[in-house]
């Protein structure tokens, strides 16, 4: 393959790649990121409140042992409004950094 053809091919790959990188995070982007202010554990669900955020995070899965007050988390899932209050039905919660 001559150099010019290879350069064109690389250019296409780069454009396509950058486009994919811009699109992908929209699919897997966390709904919210913040520091845990309080955790309320009930029988079937866990509510997590974040510092300086008015939204409540609802988790029906078992709580990750690493999640505790003061830790920064990324929350993936669906945003909903319940009785006029915004809440996130969390599908996945990941720690941003260890304290």
């Amino acid at each position: 393959m001559d150099n010019l053809k290879l350069q064109k091919l690389l250019l296409i790959l780069i454009f396509l790649g950058i486009f994919i990188l811009f699109i992908l995070p929209e699919i897997g982007r966390p709904i919210i990121t913040g520091e845990i202010a309080r955790i309320e554990e009930k029988e079937k669900q866990t509510k997590i409140y974040l510092t300086d955020k008015e939204i409540t995070i609802i988790l029906f899965d078992s709580l990750n042992n690493n999640l505790e007050t003061g830790r920064t988390i990324k929350v993936f899932g669906k945003e909903e409004t319940y009785r006029g209050q915004k809440q996130i039905m969390a599908e996945k919660i990941t720690l941003v950094k260890l304290k």
């Binding site: 150099n3 290879l6 350069q7 690389l10 250019l11 790959l13 780069i14 790649g17 950058i18 994919i20 990188l21 811009f22 992908l24 995070p25 897997g28 982007r29 966390p30 990324k74 260890l98 304290k99």
Partner: protein
Amino acid sequence: MIFQIIIAILLGFLLGCVTGLIPGIHTNLISIILLSLIGLTSTQIDPILLVALIVSMATTHTFLDFIPSIYLGAPDEDTALSVLPGHEFLLRGQAHEAIILTLIGSASAIILLLIIIPILFIILPFAIQYIERMMAWILIWISIFLVTDNKKRAGSILIFALAGFLGISTLGTSTNEPLLPLLTGLFGTSTILYSIKTATKIPIQTTKSLVFSFKETIKPLITTLLVSPICSFLPGLGSSQAAIIGSKITGKLDKRQFLILLGSINTLVLTVSFFTLYLIGKSRTGSANAISQLIQLTPSDLITISITIISVALLSIPLTIFISKQISKNIHKMNYSYISKITILILIAVTFIVSGFMGLLILLISTALGLLCTMIGVRKSLLMGCLLIPTILYYWPM
């Protein structure tokens, strides 16, 4: 306590040898792993021991990291510009000389550090507020400078812009350590792939004593004094960019002087960053950032840091000469293409382990961009647009 600090310094020195010699393993990565381990363990470790370890590792790294860069063409972001002059020395059978030149620079940087620190203590705390307000404009000026410094303007603009878009998109993903695949691809795998493509044959290397005059070092060292303090707290700027800006300020440097300049800036930018962390609370390098998460630095910690830097430099110089000599004696016997392929495999494996599939995707795109940059024939420093453009956007006054 002194005994424990010595152990920490020696451990850091060993880790610095690993990160410096193995392509793709950066001190930032080890620092992150270290911080994570500390977060997981309940054992109480005196933070100053970890500080000594990180400073020792990072300083050692700056002495040794030119070895993979010059012999294998596998640099990190700080040694990226050494690939071309270093590769020329390698093809002339003088790679060891190139290493010694970077060592002269790194060793001189330790002396320059003693000159710079008192000046920084006086100026920096007052100047930083003005610099921060002007940050976006300073970085825009540097970007324009980097782009217009190339003869092929259209190609330069294209590469710089693409690198910027790639940086923005990469940093927008939730990838773990996104800079690892980004910079590895732009400066590492792309360079190695290109050397495989051009079927590089390595001649027998000489390890004779280097002849150089003190006069030869003055110009690069003055340049280092001028630009390193600025680049040690300006985000988005690596040692390579500092070297280009510096060489423009003080006039043309030959290849030997340029290698001395790269060595001195590489070490000085890192070591100064520990002091700027203390003075203004900003951490420009990954190692200083790791320290900022461990401890609030005090004047006595700075003394420990200074002693660590000096003692590790004394250990690193003979070790680098020894390793370089051994490689020089044997590299012509080795199958260079085979070594290059192994190096690429290591880089891919490290990327996958640290950053996962998304990391591999970033690595693929950044490698393509690095290759395109080389094929178009514009400076690889333009690829630092991947950090400069996102940083300009971050500091842009809204």
